[in-house]
Symmetry: none
Subunit: 200 residues, 4 copies
DNA sequence: AATGAATGAGCGTTCATTCAT
DNA sequence: AATGAATGAACGCTCATTCAT
């Protein structure tokens, strides 16, 4: 497999620590250790910390959010798209539960906003069209009290929250990691019904 | 006022940086600077970083989550309690949007689990009773496809998500800080209706 | 004495290593060690390496070269000024033999030219007037084959060379450090006579 | 041509960076890059940095200083020899202006004194004889106030100084690189007259 | 109570050097 | 002979913490 190359090993380790284990401030030496390589080799391949950030973040954002925008922009029935997007986003979050936390945490450091520039600009472009589409659905189905903005925030919230809060909620509910993943997985259909108001 | 004491100034600054501004890894010197005092004085009052963490975290957890448990344990009609809790949690998050992110981020460092010990144990005790109460409500109102666990996760998710993701979502929706706060505020009633399935 | 303050100790050590011992690339830890203090304290007082460079270099340049410009700009007889300047520059070089080497070495790294900006601009302004003064002297005394530019380069060369090359020349001439300093000191009058062409 | 061999390419690059461009602390990677070869190949041919130093330094010292000793030891009229030596040393310095700076800089690091051992021992042997020859010339021509030691230091100083200080002096005099080289070149005859006291 | 000064541990990064091919 | 990959040692710098006053 091509996965064995040091570049990929490093990127996998970085993603695992940043996005999967939630070590938002993982040290270079931790990443190197996780990848089973020397600290200096990390710089040999990725120059510096920021560069490694940008690369793994871009890949992860493309796979999850940009892909979600793409799914929701397809020319298929609205309800189908929503279901598909919910499945996609939950599948992604099951792999990288802390990706949103990481992005937010980086943003709050207020350094190079460039990191999320693509995500924001792509997202705005996408939203402009999509909010209208939601509005049509809301009116057509006479869904009360919910704005298009609420609709999309609700959808994301219901998907993402149990992942980003996993360390606490899993514990509170007294579930094993496996059981908790099943719990989150089952929510796919529940969330779809809830946001589309198909409560029968 | 008691607020002027250095202890309180420091705690306020720590909470502001950690929970309000989302600087999850704020440096001691930043906190001292924000409080307008000397870096060494910080250690004089709070010994070390971890100790400061514990103290401000305990206070914040008591004010938000323990208080929420308390509200939801009161002996008043279920729907009233839910509405009250939603108001409470959103009010708290409006002040400290990143408190959950902070807790999770600290937990992922896997050091002293003691930090959230009280939150977890209190929470488990509370949940044991409350999940049954939800179950009763679900059956009584014939709400389909939703488990008690879903019910509470949904409630929290719909409240918390727009706060923890504020830096992105506010930007994506093209709202000012003020407009975004109003947007979140308005969600109170929407969320109440949604989780209680009062869609009329 | 005020010399005992850590700032001054550090600056003295930096000057000693850079300008006196000729360790043009002295490490921060060497300077700290020479000053008898902690490595981190160096940054406490001088922020970073470049800042320390700038400060000690500016002080040394002001004391030696800017002062020389000042002496040679005084309104006293030409021959007196030359004699005075030669004494001044040799006295300075006796303390910091490698100051010129340091400046050149830094310049060749081609980073912040700002370091020597003041020296250059002050020097140009000074030279414009002074070259004319030399020209008058050359013509008045009918000194043959020497341009004003040669005159000043010769003067500096005769003073500076034995200092910048001390480690070799002292050894070649088989002199102790003390003897070599006396040798250089004695050159003051010889150089004065030579550049002024007073060979009687 | 033999010049194309990697060894020679590397040596040329090292000399260019060390002696011509004045990058006294040029990195191995800069030398390799300048030579258009791999960083590892540099070690293949020259083992380590110190070894490369020794080799290029020995070659340069032989070409300039040992050769100068040789010229000044020839059995021809004193004044002829001086003139010839001045021409030789200035020609050498025009190619490698910073060779003396490099030697001194290395010496000040106080590691292997072996580097300049040959230069020193050859020089001492040469000087022993030559100082007497100068002394004879001084007495024969009744040159006042100048010792044989001064004589030779003056000669070297007047030749070398404008080269080692080129980055500053060229700038101060407001000359282009070409103009400055001509300026230094013209000094040959002036220096010859000055040290031999032929001021007519 | 309050502060400037001081320190040790650690982090990101560079660099000469070596290894494997 | 030649090169990409890999490593250990060191360097500049930061930061939490302590000391002295």
């Amino acid at each position: 497999m091509k996965e064995e190359s040091p570049e990929n090993l490093i990127k996998q380790s970085a993603k695992r620590l940043f996005f999967a284990k939630g070590l938002l401030n993982a040290k270079m030496h931790e990443i190197a250790q996780d990848a089973g390589i020397n600290r200096a080799l990390l710089h040999y391949y990725f120059r510096n910390r920021d560069n490694l950030f940008q690369i793994v973040l871009k890949e992860a954002v493309d796979e999850t959010f940009i892909r979600m925008f793409s799914i929701l922009s397809e020319d298929i029935p609205f309800e189908k798209k929503i279901e598909s997007a919910i499945h996609h986003i939950i599948n992604c979050l099951a792999e990288y539960p802390f990706i949103e936390s990481f992005i937010i945490s980086e943003l709050n450091k207020e350094q190079d906003q460039n990191l999320t520039q693509p995500l924001i600009s792509e997202g705005k472009k996408f939203l402009k069209k999509f909010l209208k589409e939601i509005d049509n659905y809301i009116k057509a189905n006479k869904i009360p009290h919910i704005t298009p903005e609420d609709f999309i925030v609700n959808m994301m919230a219901l998907c993402a929250y149990p992942y980003s809060t996993m360390p606490i909620v899993q514990n509170l509910l007294g579930l094993t990691e496996k059981e908790y993943n099943i719990f989150c997985e089952k929510r796919k259909t529940m969330i779809t019904r809830l946001v589309l108001m198909k409560n029968k």
